[in-house]
Amino acid sequence: MATFNALSETTGQVRVAVVATGVVSPLGFGLEETLNALRKATDCVTPVAGFDVTRCRCKTAAQISDQRLLGRHRNGRKNGRLHRAAHMMITALEQLSGQDSEFKPELSVIGTTSGGMSFGQDYYRALHRQRNLRRSPEWVANYPPQKPVLDAQDAFGISAPCRVIANACASGTNAVGHAFECVRSGKYQRVLTGGYDALSELVFVGFDCLQAATPEKCRPFDRDRSGMVLGEGAAVLALENFESARRRGARILAEIIGYGISTDNHHLTQPDPSGNGPRRAMEQALQSARITANEVDYINAHGTATPFNDAAEGKAITELFKDVPVSSTKSMIGHSLGAAGAIEAVVCLLALRAQFLPPNINFRNLDPNLALKIVANQSRKAKIDIALSNSFGFGGTNASILIRNAPA
């Protein structure tokens, strides 16, 4: 039997294991489907089905099929009243519980950006038409952002207090990072973390009116990139004190080893073009893990494909890292906002376990101002031990986490 150190050799702090995970995204439900779709470089972006986009510039998004998502969960009669996001969280948590039914969190830390927004929209549209308000109490009660999390916890008998982080598009990575710090501090043994967001008209139109969304393909870091495509989904990760996990014989999938957070005060919606904010988050993650930039084998970039984000992030990566493969999996699954960081943490975990680099699809020509080694268009085999995942959001919030493959 392999031996493990309870404390990290590099930091001397408590090690934090990922013992189970669940994911639902346009790539598929669960780790196997997600891995297969990543390897095949699947483009999940399709015409928007859930609401009218005829007057929008962008008309596509990466979506999860309602037919598959809805009506398959254990909440009985309550099921029909749940928000789509709650179904996503339940689906992800069901997978996690299937992998490790003994995992009982003391705390949950979950990221979201828009909560149950579409119920707010339903309510407001019904109000505007002055009819069909019969369902308004359930819309109102299920609209708050903590509800999908509490519904999912309730479905699996989890009573842990819940911190719902709403740091815009960095929420998911902030949630995983904060959960990591909670376990690493020694104060908590087990923390459930992750993120969720379901596509909604208000948010879709919001990004469209800012001209941040593209009517074309999503091409992160490409010379001709023209913007983001929205997505949706949920992912959860079970974090546990490494020693506690080892003692109870839990399967260790990966380790979270570092976390960085920074705030740049440049603008509410635009990143500091210097890349200073993202750079500080990545540097802090490296310091937190006590590793050097040379030890990072793969970067899952925030990579929204907006001109400003990719320029700032690309500059920061170029300054910090040399020849590290970079991809933005948002090119395949769109930007799922509060879920993105959690889904991308799972993508990194899969990349580490299956030893491959997830692709950055729709890529044609590298932005000449960036010196990045893009994993262009196809996945490829690689030996990777440590992956960095970035998320940046409105409000100048920047977050980076470092994930290491589990010991063999």
Partner: protein
């Protein structure tokens, strides 16, 4: 690690400034409601709104030029908390301050305006000016920019208990040697659409007063504002325990959860700043208090300031800290005399411990203990 309140600030329907509002509460003042309406075809509601003069000390800053009301409230309260702390100690190094912003409904006014354009005129009419302000962390971003906080900044969302959850998160962040202080700010803005939504949820009444602990409950009235506490490792008021409680699936289960929280926090005699607001919360708190701490003095600020949802728990913390410092509690207004609880009066004896209970309207509850 020892956790203390190093400074506080608030913006309330009774005005701004901790001492100013405190003195009004001691006098038994309650805020005046205003009519909150939306066109001619919809029912009007009463709301406790923040008067303009409560923001008179808010400095001009480019970030606040088009900012929502909730961002302004948060900025004013946060700046006051920092100023109060700096009046007692040296200047605070913002590189070593973390920010935790808490809200429940967030920037609902701009969200409504943004979506209203879409509903009435189509997506092409949506305003790029409003959309960024609809994001939950916009107030935190503005406050961080004004103060120069460039490290950890978190926005957490939840129901009325979110302020306590934010304080517990701050306690966790202060475990880091890189952080000296954590500024916890909670804010909410009131709007017709919220009043209507909570009314349809059968929680809101149309006219004051809020009458806590009545049976049956008679409904609450929404309010707005912000509260801020600067938490550090030193200060006159100690946060001796935080219990981030848990979640309840049904309103009936709230009683058991509050009972457990109170049981865990009751180690010494203490007065209780309850979250009773004229809804099902009152029954849960009354039952738990009668069982766990039947002789404790109880105060709820909701009749005076209204139910500000996301901001309310931090208001309660500020009230508790003030009461411990001043050895007085404001008089409890409009409470049901037959509830069996001991309500605060201006002559109430105040000990050295306070418990803040927060039972939210949407499944979360938490509590904490303060001491001097």
């Amino acid at each position: 690690m020892s956790l203390h309140v190093a400074g506080a600030g608030w913006v309330t329907p009774l005005g701004g400034g901790v001492d100013e509002v405190w003195n009004r509460l001691l006098r038994g003042d309650e805020a005046t409601t205003q009519t909150v309406s939306f066109g001619e075809n919809h029912k009007s509601y009463s709301g406790f709104l923040v008067p303009n003069n409560a923001l008179k000390n808010l400095p001009p800053h480019p970030r606040l030029r088009r900012a929502s009301a909730i961002s302004r409230f948060a900025a004013a309260a946060g700046l006051d908390a920092i100023a109060q702390a700096e009046s007692k100690t040296s200047k605070i190094d913002m590189d070593r301050v973390a920010l935790v912003f808490a809200a429940s409904n967030g920037g609902v006014i701009y969200t409504k305006r943004f979506y209203d354009d879409i509903v009435k005129s189509g997506a092409q009419s949506a305003s790029p000016l409003f959309f960024p302000e609809t994001v939950f962390n916009a107030p935190a971003s503005h406050l961080a920019a004004i103060l120069g906080i460039n490290g950890a900044s978190y926005t957490i969302v939840g129901d009325g208990a979110v302020g306590i959850l934010a304080m517990n998160m701050a306690r966790d962040l202060l475990e880091s040697e890189w952080i000296d202080f954590c500024l916890v700010v909670a804010a909410e803005e009131a709007d017709w659409v919220l009043c209507d939504a909570y009314r349809k949820w059968r929680l809101v009444k149309t006219q004051p007063p809020i009458e806590p602990f009545c049976n049956p409950s008679r409904g609450t009235i929404l309010s707005e504002g912000a509260g801020a506490v600067l938490l550090g490792r030193e200060g006159s008021v100690k946060v001796s325990s935080i219990n981030d409680g848990g979640n309840f699936s049904h309103q009936q289960e709230a009683t058991n959860l509050i009972d457990r929280i109170l049981h865990d926090l009751r180690s010494e005699p203490a007065f209780i700043i309850a979250s009773a607001n004229g809804t099902f919360v009152d029954f849960a708190e009354r039952t738990a208090i009668q069982k766990q701490m039947p002789t404790s003095m109880v105060y709820s600020l909701k009749p005076a300031l209204g139910e500000s949802v996301g901001a309310s728990a931090i208001w309660q913390v500020i009230i508790a800290a003030q009461a411990l410092g001043k050895k007085r509690l404001p008089p409890m207004l409009h409470a049901c005399e037959r509830s069996g609880l001991q309500f605060a009066t201006t002559s109430s004896h105040i000990g050295s411990n306070a418990i803040v209970l927060s039972c939210g309207l949407n499944q979360q509850a938490a509590g904490l203990r303060l001491s001097v």
